[in-house]
């Protein structure tokens, strides 16, 4: 399986580490009365779809970027990949060139 890393180009999945579901969002408020439930829902349950799946891979033996990959779990076909978390403007890069690059989905 070859993952189209937005930085490195198509690379063998062997170079990456898999984390899983990319759809969850970490709850903002640890002091909310339902915080345990909110964090439980963030950490444990999964959609686990048979079909299109948005998932996080880390390019361990490459650029060391977290990459969000769209992949079909029935066929392993990859339809897109982009830098994870990059939709939030990167404060360390004032001209946001990284964000621009990440808007383009690298399609295999």
């Amino acid at each position: 399986m070859r993952i189209p890393c937005p930085y490195c180009g198509p690379r063998d999945a062997h170079e990456f580490s898999y984390l899983g579901d990319a759809t969850g969002t970490r709850p903002k408020n640890p002091s909310a009365p339902d915080a345990i439930l909110a964090f439980h829902d963030y950490v444990y349950p999964r959609g686990n779809p048979a079909g299109s799946h948005r998932e996080l891979w880390y390019h361990t033996n490459g650029c060391r970027r977290w990459v969000e990959v769209s992949r079909n779990t029935l066929t392993h076909e990859i339809t897109g990949a982009r830098f994870a978390g990059a939709s939030i403007p990167d404060a360390s890069v004032p001209d946001a060139s990284v964000s621009d690059a990440s808007e383009k989905e690298a399609v295999s």
């Binding site: 898999y18 444990y44 349950p45 959609g47 048979a50 998932e55 992949r71 029935l74």
Partner: protein, 417 residues
């Protein structure tokens, strides 16, 4: 018909005139007390023990394809109870005890063979961890032996003792562990359940659920029409999420592929089950002579029942590091099973989470060994609406309460378990 030597001789002499189907080909009735979705080992064992232990005979097992076509027919056939944590060990130990009498219970030779498992030890820290585990096994009456290097060498002289990157320093052995003929387990339970009147319906796909106004589950929609049931029990392994999705349930599982491999058959070479402690490789030899081996998950969500080369290479690097005399044997076949990997690496057997629904899933890569005890405890859960004491730790709410059972200490990331 009871299987016996007499039966075989008669059929041999008469050209199998008195042979009958191992189980009836049932067509589903409109309603049952219990409908079990998934005709693998766990589903059939559940049906068998529902009838045998609880007198519930009005049961249907609904199978999408043929019985035993999922993970029951795709595993590496090992049973063992070498677990560490108190939530697990007594459950798996009960399973081993059931394995020990399964032939006689089912009147079917499932070829359970207690040739033992040895987990190899390569460091002092590993020895300490295995000692903790071995003692946990002894506390649960499962039996365990700590082997030193020389004992391992006597038992398995073919391992690489002299030239290894990670030298073998000993092993933890469970002599009562072993292997069984996986398909025979399925057929034995199917035949046994059938004798009690359980309907085994093959080539019938569950497509959804029937629910009443309160949201309770009252039956299933299938490719052969709706079937009502007081209780609907799921034993769907890697396909669990695909059906619970229809109930808007999100479960703490990911379906991932685990590959397994078999070599061409050779004369007896390996005594029992061996697991490498410094890489991903475990192996046993089937009665036919093939080395049956595997390693780690491919490590990503998949419903494809097939894996890729990197994991194969990783597994065989382990194999060659451990026993370099297998190099010229040939890989005959590889396949993949869809494992319902959970967030703590331990299974779920529970009532609910909706009224009328019962869950049995999340067996990770280790469901085969659990087959008899899973059926035993799940049947109890369904019949009595209370968890069986042996599976009481396997409830779904443990992720909310924090009472997870994480043998490996890998945390909520399924591919690390």
């Amino acid at each position: 018909m009871r299987y016996s030597l007499f039966n075989i001789v008669v059929n041999g002499l008469t050209g199998n005139r008195f042979t009958e189907p191992a189980w009836r080909a049932a067509t589903p009735k409109p309603r049952y007390d219990v409908v079990i979705l998934g005709g693998g080992g766990h589903g059939l064992a559940t049906a068998y023990y529902l009838a045998k232990n609880h007198g519930i005979h009005d049961v249907a097992v609904i199978e999408k394809g043929y019985v035993g076509g999922g993970n029951a027919g795709r595993n590496t056939t090992i049973f063992r109870s070498n677990y560490l944590l108190p939530g697990n060990e007594p459950f798996y130990e009960w399973s081993v005890k059931l394995w020990e009498g399964l032939e006689q219970t089912l009147n079917y030779n499932v070829m359970a063979s207690q040739r033992g498992i040895v987990n190899l030890i390569h460091s002092d820290a590993q020895r300490d961890a295995y000692a903790r585990r071995g003692n946990a096994m002894l506390l649960a009456d499962a039996g365990a032996r700590l082997l030193d290097r020389d004992e391992v060498r006597t038992m398995m002289p073919f391992l690489d003792f002299d030239n290894a990157r990670f030298p073998i320093r000993g092993g933890l052995m469970q002599p009562r562990a072993g292997t069984a003929r996986h398909d025979a387990v399925v057929w034995g339970f199917a035949r046994g359940a059938d004798k009690f009147g359980v309907d085994i319906v093959q080539n019938c796909e569950a497509t959804g659920f029937l629910r009443d106004r309160t949201g309770a589950v009252t039956g299933v929609e299938t490719s052969l029409g709706p079937i009502m049931a007081d209780k609907v029990a799921l034993t769907l392994a890697g396909s669990t999420s695909r059906l619970t999705e229809k109930l808007d349930l999100r479960l703490p599982i990911e379906s991932q592929v685990l590959q397994a491999f078999v070599s061409e058959a050779v004369k007896p070479l390996i005594p029992g089950v061996i697991t490498f402690g410094a890489g991903h490789f475990y192996v046993s030899q089937s009665d036919k002579g093939g080395l049956v081996f595997g390693g780690d998950l491919d490590g990503y969500n998949s419903y494809a029942q097939r894996g890729n080369l990197p994991v194969m290479e990783d597994v065989l690097e382990g194999g060659m590091a451990l026993m370099p005399m297998i190099g010229r044997l040939r890989l005959l076949r590889q396949w993949g099973g869809i494992c319902d990997m959970s967030m703590d690496g331990s299974p779920i057997i529970d009532i609910g989470p909706l009224p009328g629904l019962y869950l049995n899933c999340a067996w990770n890569y280790g469901g085969f060994k659990a087959t008899p005890a899973s059926g035993w405890c799940f049947a109890h859960t369904i019949a009595t609406d209370t968890p069986h004491p042996l599976s009481a730790a396997y409830r779904l709410d443990r992720f909310r309460t924090g009472k997870v059972i994480d043998e490996r200490g890998a945390g909520p990331q399924p591919n690390l378990h």
